[in-house]
Symmetry: C2
Subunit: 346 residues, 2 copies
């Protein structure tokens, strides 16, 4: 990393756009054009959803996420439960056992204490269900109009068993691609709530902790190659990122991907592809082909993986590219999302 | 901690006020009335500026802070350097050696990439000077008017030598109270910049990492009782908190407390008491009386402690109360700040 001279990076835009927070191409431009040249080090450069660090012989996972979802309360959860689950899941995706969480609130002047109380109680329940303790925190307040009710940052620490090596870079031709359940629930819960769409019953977010599911999967196969929770950018975004990072091709079957009927309906009405819609209680796993059946059985024994399915595999062909065999028998390249599909979804 | 029923806490106000972020009485109401009943556990209940946790035999310090300072750029620093120094200092105040930092950005749509770049470069330099690596991060973007240019959360992990026990609870009658340098610089740098006051040369923030100074102090006296960086609420706020937490009295001499001439002048013009104004590169230490001289000598050998002085001592009298002997020979009780003196100072 060159110090000293550091020219302004060449990005597509000179101002921050909503799309820079999408988890898509614009986010990558910020990360690769601006953050990595400044902060780059071998730990950060892995670009997984968590850092794996060694401290005094302990192997730790460390992660951070800010939550700006709107509305604050939605079917299936709220910004509080989301803030705990999201960070717990980022830890779990490394194979770590989540232990400790920090909470940083940025409150807008005028937020009803009652809303804050409800959010905090939801965080408490989510922390309990996730087997983590909130051990440190911070509160800032900004004036009316300088924030939007409440933003929450959670950072988390987990402990990682020696020998576990889960990273996007480990995707290998021959790996099976597994998915723990239906896609698009969280994003469509937020969007239908925002749009006031009833659709014969509210769509509920799938927000949930995944550390228990991952623990079961690791028992079945300690050599899991890749785990990702498909949040911003959805399953398509995560698969494109893995293909690009590992320099492999990925092929999936559209018909194998579970989508709830109400989610599919909402996607059609609002013009979204469920493969690109955020999830908050699902994971994608790449595992050695020989272990796939055993891992799937283990997943289905866990409440968060009842509907787990194999959706495709990794190939040495078309490196960096994800191809989907469509329901009508065609082949479609899944593009990485460029900008923002669903602002402030998490 | 009772689960199940959890009535809305009785606070002075039903809505969040700027004062809830002050670090004063209103902040305590939020913490003690709302956060602790929900999250309380023996680690959080210590209410120090960092959690001390044991992970696989390693003793770690873990802390989080969000930064919402305005303006973003000010004499002596910016929101980026502040975000690194603040978290490094929260770790250092436990005696820990800071190691790893996470960065979470909440960007407002429209922020010039050039400003973000400048802030990120400043964070890089601050991280380098603080001997920490940025190992994980997150970026969210909110629409125009839903944020204020940029908010930054940093969380940090440090390693704590076994045997070091630094906590507000350890203040004991007989302890000497030491201060590492002049007070009020940071707060007055922000305020004079905001107000456009020139005052014959800009007042510079004292923002700086303190881990090196703390390491020197620990060499001189491994049994430091209390360390605090007097940020929000200033030296008075920190001393009041220590007195209350440890159930001891504290007496200090007004004439012993260094205040730069330009800071004193700005405080007079703007109506602030420098004892209550935020610092970002200073610390208060409570040490056994017999070690005070040795610690002071060690502090003065370090660039961040050149002007270190003894400002008073701990007494068994008037527990919970801080008394200042004034310049004109009177005695004044230092009250804990109630609400907000200086909004968005950090």
């Amino acid at each position: 990393m060159p110090f000293g001279s550091c020219p302004l990076p060449i990005l597509d835009h000179k101002e921050v756009l909503l799309g820079h927070g999408s988890g898509g191409v614009l986010t990558s431009q910020l990360i690769e054009g601006l953050f990595l040249p400044a902060f780059g080090n071998p730990i950060l450069d892995r670009l997984d959803d968590q850092a794996v660090i060694d401290v005094e012989g302990a192997r730790l996972a460390f992660t951070t996420d800010s939550y700006v979802v709107t509305p604050l309360f939605f079917p299936g959860g709220d910004i509080g439960s989301l803030a705990i689950h999201g960070t717990v899941n980022d830890l779990a995706m490394s194979g770590a056992r989540p232990l400790y969480v920090s909470v940083g609130f940025i409150l807008e002047e005028g937020l009803p204490i009652e809303d804050l109380h409800r959010i905090v109680l939801s965080m408490r329940e989510a922390a309990r269900a996730s087997d983590v303790s909130v051990v440190t925190g911070d509160t800032k307040v900004v004036g009316k109009g300088s924030g939007d009710k409440i933003f929450i940052n959670t950072s988390g620490i987990g402990v990682l068993p020696h020998g576990i090596q889960i990273s996007a870079e480990r995707a290998r031709p021959g790996d099976a691609v597994l998915l723990s359940g239906s896609v698009g629930d969280h994003g469509m819960a937020i969007m239908t709530k925002r749009e006031g769409l009833g659709l014969g019953g509210a769509i509920a977010s799938d927000t949930a902790p995944l550390h228990g599911l991952v623990a079961r999967m690791l028992e079945a196969c300690p050599d899991l190659h890749v785990l990702r929770d498909p949040t911003r950018g959805g399953v398509a975004g995560v698969l494109c990122e893995i293909a690009s990072r590992a320099g492999v091709g990925i092929e999936i079957d559209e018909t194998a991907i579970p989508v709830r009927e109400d989610v599919r309906g909402a996607c059609e009405i609002l013009g979204f592809d469920p493969l690109y819609v955020a999830n908050e209680g699902k994971l994608v796993a790449l595992v050695p082909a020989g272990s796939a059946e055993g891992v799937l059985i283990a997943m289905r024994e866990h409440e968060r993986g009842r509907s787990a399915v194999g959706i495709g595999g990794v190939t040495a062909e078309h490196p960096g590219v994800v191809v989907m065999r469509t329901a009508i028998g065609g082949r479609r390249v899944l593009e990485r999302p460029y900008g923002e599909l669903l602002p402030r979804i998490c």
